[in-house]
């Protein structure tokens, strides 16, 4: 029985990234970065105060990024991001984990791939829906309060 108020899921590849040692060439603090990502996730799960737009934020601009969020590790360069979606309130599904320099500048191929993958996963998950679920649209907000309870 799942009893937590906020739940964090990850696709197999994202899960592997979060639970494995990182060996990124030329990144000295790779595991420090991974550690920070996990810490940020843990704080979110706990409902601990987070720094707005510094540790978790919705990606912009809509509509391409609508409903795609990122958890951010920024303390050690180059930083990293967990990208994923809220398929429903209080539930985040990580679709990808990326060292920041692999994503490149906004709009570059890395970002487009990561966001496209998240959006594609969401589309696939809901593709079998035979009911027009009215709550789907609610989880595309830009404020943390629109995607999870703040307690």
């Amino acid at each position: 029985m799942l009893t937590e108020r906020r739940m964090f899921f990850a696709t197999p590849a994202a899960s592997l990234a979060l639970s494995s040692s990182w060996t990124i060439p030329s990144v000295e603090d790779a595991n420090v970065i991974r550690r920070e990502l996990l810490d940020v996730v843990r704080l979110w799960q706990n409902g601990t105060a987070m720094l707005a737009n510094k540790q978790i934020k919705p990606l912009t601009p809509p509509p391409a990024c609508d409903g795609v969020w990122e958890f951010r590790a920024t303390q050690a360069p180059p930083g990293a991001r967990i990208i994923g979606i809220f398929p429903e309130r209080n539930i985040f599904v990580a679709t990808g984990v990326y060292p920041r320099h692999y994503l490149g500048n906004r709009g570059s191929r890395g970002w487009v791939t990561a966001i496209g993958y998240a959006v594609g996963r969401r589309a696939a998950w809901f593709a079998g829906s035979t009911i027009n679920w009215p709550s789907t649209a609610k989880f595309t907000g830009s404020d943390l309060g629109t995607v999870c309870d703040v307690f």
Binding site: L2, S19, S20, N46
Partner: protein
């Protein structure tokens, strides 16, 4: 690992031991939480009262550079520095102990994860229940005299007591997920499946079907 997820950078991953992970995380997450508390308080006070790092440093009798170091990197934050900074901001640090959450869960191929929201028309009787086990779902069906329908990937049943369970499960190649919403019937909407659905009674073998075909 899927090739279109952009995660080729990961290469051959070496799993970290769970115990190592848990212990390391317990310390670093607590430090980050402490940092967030102090930094968040400072950010809100600097917005409200134009509090500056210089003022904090003066209040504490330390250098401005030290205050900056504390407020920039979580690694520099100790419980002592946090308490001092908060004191200088007119706040007090209070600690609490809570049950820790489970680590992240992996969505695995064919994983069955169902939720059900039990609604009644009486608000006082409203309750929510999450079902994660297929057997539990079948058990509910067995015990219930009501009809459960399995419409391809969407299930629901409606009881004679006007209770309703809506279950929605979606299988995909790399995972299974579901979404549950409030009772459409309560909103007066129809929950009849569209013509595309292939309605069939729920069967005990449905889980296997799902794993194999979704």
């Amino acid at each position: 690992m899927s090739s279109d997820d952009g995660m080729n950078w990961l290469g051959r991953a070496t799993p970290v031991s769970e115990r190592e992970e848990a212990l390391e995380g317990a310390g670093s997450a607590a430090r980050l939480a402490l940092f967030n508390l102090v930094r968040g308080t400072f950010d809100s006070l600097s917005k409200e009262r134009k509090l500056t790092k210089r003022e904090l440093a003066d209040n504490l009798g330390v250098s401005g550079a030290l205050v900056s170091r504390w407020l920039v990197k979580p690694a520099n934050m100790t419980i002592e520095s946090a308490a001092k900074l908060l004191y200088a901001m007119g706040r007090e640090l209070r600690l609490s102990v809570e049950k820790r959450p489970a680590p992240h869960r992996e969505l695995t191929y064919g994983e069955n994860y169902f939720s059900a929201w039990f609604h009644t028309h009486s608000a006082s009787r409203r309750r929510a229940k999450t079902i994660t086990d297929w057997d539990e779902l079948l058990d509910i069906r067995t015990r219930s005299s009501d009809n459960i329908h399995f419409f391809d990937k969407v299930m629901y049943f409606e009881s004679k007591e006007q209770q309703m369970i809506l279950l929605h499960g979606v299988c995909s190649k790399d995972g299974f997920y579901r979404q549950v919403t409030h009772s459409d019937a309560m909103l007066g909407n129809s929950i009849e499946p569209t013509s595309k659905t292939n309605a069939s009674p729920i069967k005990a073998t449905a889980r296997e079907d799902c794993v194999g075909n979704c």
